[in-house]
């Protein structure tokens, strides 16, 4: 079959539709970026999980860090002394940034208790001081590539006073942008 098995609408439809997607409205997640196990424990009060998350992130750092052919290229993106030579186990060596922190995310139940299990990922700091982490794994609808994509992490405060609006949209029309 070359077509979708279903084609559900969630909000656009006037008729209620049954969905198979899981309802996440009753749980929340807690996510943090930590530079050390100690910082993690101070925030979460959960030293076992913090230690495991750190260890897993460190283990994943080689495989998921961006790869560079030489030290200079790596240091250009991540700064002096922030890169190390690594090997992928098949005798291919390359350079990658040192892990400078780790992410920990946990699902929280309604009463605020962390559920079993966690996700962790290594974090890297680029030469501009911005935090990055590996993108979600390739596969499925996305083809695999060499090395892993890095995504920026917005670690700055998330509110800002707006001083101006309508700086985008002057080329638009009611007929739309088309394409």
């Amino acid at each position: 079959m070359k077509r979708s098995r279903t084609a559900a609408l969630l909000l656009m439809s006037t008729a209620p539709l049954l969905l198979t997607a899981c309802d996440r409205s009753e749980s929340a997640s807690r996510e943090g970026l930590y530079t050390s196990v100690e910082a993690c424990v101070a925030q979460t009060n959960d030293s076992a999980t913090c230690r495991q998350a750190f260890a897993k992130a460190q283990q994943d750092a080689t495989a998921s860090a961006p790869r560079f052919a030489n030290r200079e290229a790596c240091e250009a993106s991540y700064g002096k002394e922030q890169c190390a030579e690594r090997s992928d186990g098949a005798n291919h060596s390359f350079f990658g940034p040192l892990m400078t922190g780790f992410f920990l995310s946990q699902m929280m139940s309604r009463n605020g208790v962390a559920a079993n299990g966690f996700n962790s990922a290594p974090a890297f700091r680029d030469s501009n001081g911005g935090w990055q982490r590996p993108a979600a794994g390739a596969g499925g609808v996305y083809r695999g590539g060499t090395g892993t994509a890095m995504v920026p992490v917005n670690a700055t405060p998330n509110r800002a006073v707006t001083v101006s609006r309508s700086g985008f949209g002057s080329s638009g029309s009611s007929r739309g942008i088309g394409g």
């Binding site: 079959m1 070359k2 077509r3 979708s4 098995r5 279903t6 084609a7 559900a8 609408l9 969630l10 909000l11 656009m12 439809s13 006037t14 008729a15 969905l19 997607a21 899981c22 996440r24 993106s77 911005g130 990055q132 993108a135 979600a136 794994g137 596969g139 499925g140 609808v141 996305y142 083809r143 994509a149 890095m150 995504v151 920026p152 992490v153 917005n154 700055t156 405060p157 998330n158 509110r159 800002a160 006073v161 707006t162 001083v163 101006s164 609006r165 309508s166 700086g167 985008f168 949209g169 002057s170 080329s171 638009g172 029309s173 009611s174 007929r175 739309g176 942008i177 088309g178 394409g179």
Partner: protein, 393 residues
């Protein structure tokens, strides 16, 4: 490939209303047209469209790698200087992309020929992914299509899967934005947002005109929240030119489609692809336009034209077709003229959808002229196996 006249569903307007498909008729002219459909064989779909789409998509991504390493190519594509490093960085980080649409001339005979990549702001998504799918199911149920008919259309499943895959790489808060007064664009982002919600991603909507900027150059929503990621159904090259554009590279804003898509939604990609893959069966000869007279057998297209605007076509028989539009001054390319196939005076253009990196469906726009304009109608399709000609004694 055949064009088959068929009876409309008597209740299709009510069905359109029930799913929020308000732009099926635009300025009193029909846009959704189910008085006919295009019938393909499975072979035409898989060998003629699906496989070439995946191959061309891979070639296009490889080309991005070459363009970001070349000031000359950036210049040829007229990428404004202040955005070049930002675009290159977005590619090095492989900032996640969602979707694109390739436009093909294809009539079932000979290879599909690539007209262009709509890789930044493709529309006609909802009608391809949802309403066309519903049409097929309804017409199968009504016995209007041969039993076992199928459709090349897993666009919906691929979109939900793609959102689920990139969910962790999407900065929050995540907003979908389109031009406020465009029903068609608003319908497209409403559908994309619906798919994102089904993938479990919390997200909102915002008019492009309502985006704000703070004193330190970050982009904000109407609640003064700094926007983490913006899906913008708005051309990157227009954002570059407008007053907030200068803030983009240092704003920390994540965009979908990401900045590197500016290299693919640009018709300059066509001569670069031709140069790298000369005589590829799915590519048309193309070159950058140095001005001067357009010889017979060539088409001139601006780098950034959308919806068939500002195209000049000099046919082999000497006729010249021109379309009007807003893209008068920019640089252009030339592409060998390969007219759309005609089906009883109708000229279908095949939009082949790529979600993530997967070719996952088509939508057909049909016009009464060789240039597919924004007036073109959307006509559904089905995969129908040819009668095998078995004689029953």
């Amino acid at each position: 490939m055949r064009r088959i006249a068929t009876a409309e569903r008597p209740d299709w307007r009510a069905k359109a209303a029930a799913c929020g498909f308000g732009f099926h008729t635009i300025d009193d002219a029909p846009y959704w047209d189910e008085s006919a459909y295009y019938a393909f064989t499975l072979r035409e779909i898989e060998d003629g469209i699906e496989a070439p789409t995946e191959e061309l998509h891979a070639m296009a991504l490889d080309m991005v790698e070459r363009i970001v390493g070349s000031e000359q190519h950036m210049q040829q594509l007229a990428i404004p200087e202040p955005y070049r490093d930002w675009i290159a960085q977005s590619w090095r980080e492989r900032q996640p992309h969602l979707y694109g649409r390739m436009d093909f001339a294809y009539g079932g005979n000979g290879p599909a020929k690539l007209y262009e990549l709509n890789y930044d702001t493709p529309t006609s998504l909802f009608e391809a992914a949802f309403f066309q799918w519903q049409w097929l199911e309804d017409q199968l149920a009504r016995g209007q299509l041969p039993a076992g008919s199928d459709q090349f259309n897993s666009i919906y499943e691929s979109l939900v899967e793609a959102f689920g895959t990139i969910a962790r790489g999407i900065a929050r808060p995540f907003h979908f934005a389109a031009v406020r007064d465009s029903a068609e664009d608003q319908g497209t982002v409403a559908y994309l947002r619906d798919c994102a919600l089904q993938a479990g991603i919390d997200c909102g909507t915002l008019a492009i005109e309502d985006i704000g900027v703070s004193a330190d150059g970050r982009f904000t929503d109407l609640d003064d929240q700094v926007i983490g990621c913006l899906f913008k159904l708005y051309p990157l090259e227009d954002m570059f030119r407008e007053s907030f554009g200068a803030c983009l590279p240092r704003s920390g804003l994540q965009l979908i489609e990401p900045p590197w898509k500016a290299l693919l939604s640009n018709k300059g990609i066509l001569p670069l692809l031709w140069e790298a893959h000369r005589d590829h069966p799915n590519l048309l000869p193309a070159e950058f336009d140095g001005g001067g007279e357009l010889p017979r057998g060539w088409v001139r297209k601006p780098l950034h034209s959308r919806e068939g605007a500002n195209i000049t076509m000099h046919l082999d028989d000497g006729r010249e077709l021109r379309t009007d539009g807003p893209y008068r001054d920019g640089p252009c390319i030339r592409q060998a003229c390969h007219p759309l196939p005609g089906f009883d005076g109708h000229y279908p253009l095949i939009g082949s959808w790529v979600v993530g990196d997967r070719a996952c469906g088509i939508g057909i726009r049909e016009d009464d002229s060789l240039v597919t304009r924004d007036s073109a109608r959307f006509v559904p399709h089905a995969i129908v196996e040819e009668a095998r000609g078995v004689l029953i004694a």
